[in-house]
C-alpha cells in the first residue's frame, strides 16, 4: 500500500463528527422512530417506509460517529471495542436467528420456509448494539 493510500485510509478511519451531531442524531432518531410506529395505524404510500428506514439509519449513524465532549485515546479504544463487538454479534445473530426461526416455525407449521433478514434489520441491529455497548462501557468506567 503506497503512502498516499495509507494516509487516506488513516484519515477515513479517524473520521468523526462534532459533538453537537449527537443531539441532532438523538432527536432525529426518536422522531423518526415515533413516525414509524405511528404509520402502522394510518394508511401511507409505499415509498414512506424505505425513506423513514433510511433516515433512521442515517440519524443513528450520526450518534455513532459524533465525538464525545472529551474525545481521547481511551474513549477511542472503547469506541473500537464497541464496533468490534457489534460487528461480531450481528453477524452471528444474522446467521443463527433465521435458523432458530425456521426450527421453531417448522414445529408448528410444516410449510415454514427459511427467511433471512433485510438490510434494514441488520444495519439497525448493528447500530443499536454498537451505541448501547459504547455507552455501557463508558458508564462502567465512570
Amino acid at each position: 500500500m503506497c503512502e498516499k493510500e495509507r494516509r487516506r485510509l488513516e484519515k477515513l478511519n479517524k473520521f468523526q463528527l462534532s459533538h453537537s451531531y449527537k443531539k441532532i442524531g438523538i432527536i432525529a432518531s426518536i422522531t423518526i422512530f415515533s413516525l414509524m410506529i405511528a404509520k402502522k395505524f394510518i394508511d401511507e404510500p409505499d415509498w414512506v417506509k424505505p425513506i423513514l428506514s433510511g433516515l433512521l439509519l442515517v440519524s443513528m449513524l450520526l450518534i455513532s460517529l459524533a465525538k464525545e465532549k472529551v474525545e481521547d485515546e481511551y474513549i477511542d479504544s472503547l469506541r473500537s471495542q464497541s464496533y468490534r463487538f457489534a460487528f461480531i454479534v450481528v453477524i452471528i445473530y444474522s446467521l443463527v436467528q433465521p435458523l432458530v426461526n425456521y426450527g421453531v416455525g417448522i414445529l408448528f407449521d410444516e410449510t415454514e420456509t427459511l427467511k433471512g433478514f433485510d438490510y434494514f434489520q441488520v444495519l439497525f441491529f448493528m447500530l443499536v448494539v454498537q451505541i448501547l455497548v459504547f455507552y455501557k462501557l463508558k458508564r462502567y468506567n465512570k
Binding site: E68, K69, V70, D72, E73, Y74, I75, S77, K138, N141, K142
Partner: protein, 66 residues
C-alpha cells in the same frame, strides 16, 4: 500492569478532574488507568511522567502475567 497513579496523585493533592484537565483527557481515562482497566499509550505515560516529575518506570510496573 500495576501503576502508582492514585498514590502519586494523592501526594500531589490533585483530583482526578484536575489531572484530567491538565493532561487534556477525560476524567474516566484517569479513573480507568488508576483501576488498571486501561493501559495508556506511551504519549500519555510520558505526559504523566512530565506532570509528576518522575520516570515512567516509577508509575508502571509489569506483573507476572504481562
Amino acid at each position: 500492569m500495576k501503576n502508582t497513579l492514585k498514590v502519586q496523585r494523592a501526594i500531589k493533592d490533585l483530583t482526578q478532574d484536575d489531572l484530567a484537565k491538565e493532561m487534556g483527557v477525560s476524567r474516566q481515562t484517569i479513573n480507568s488507568i488508576e483501576k488498571g482497566r486501561y493501559v495508556p499509550s506511551t504519549v500519555l505515560a510520558l505526559k504523566l511522567s512530565a506532570i509528576f516529575g518522575i520516570s515512567v518506570n516509577e508509575f508502571f510496573t509489569l506483573e507476572d502475567d504481562d
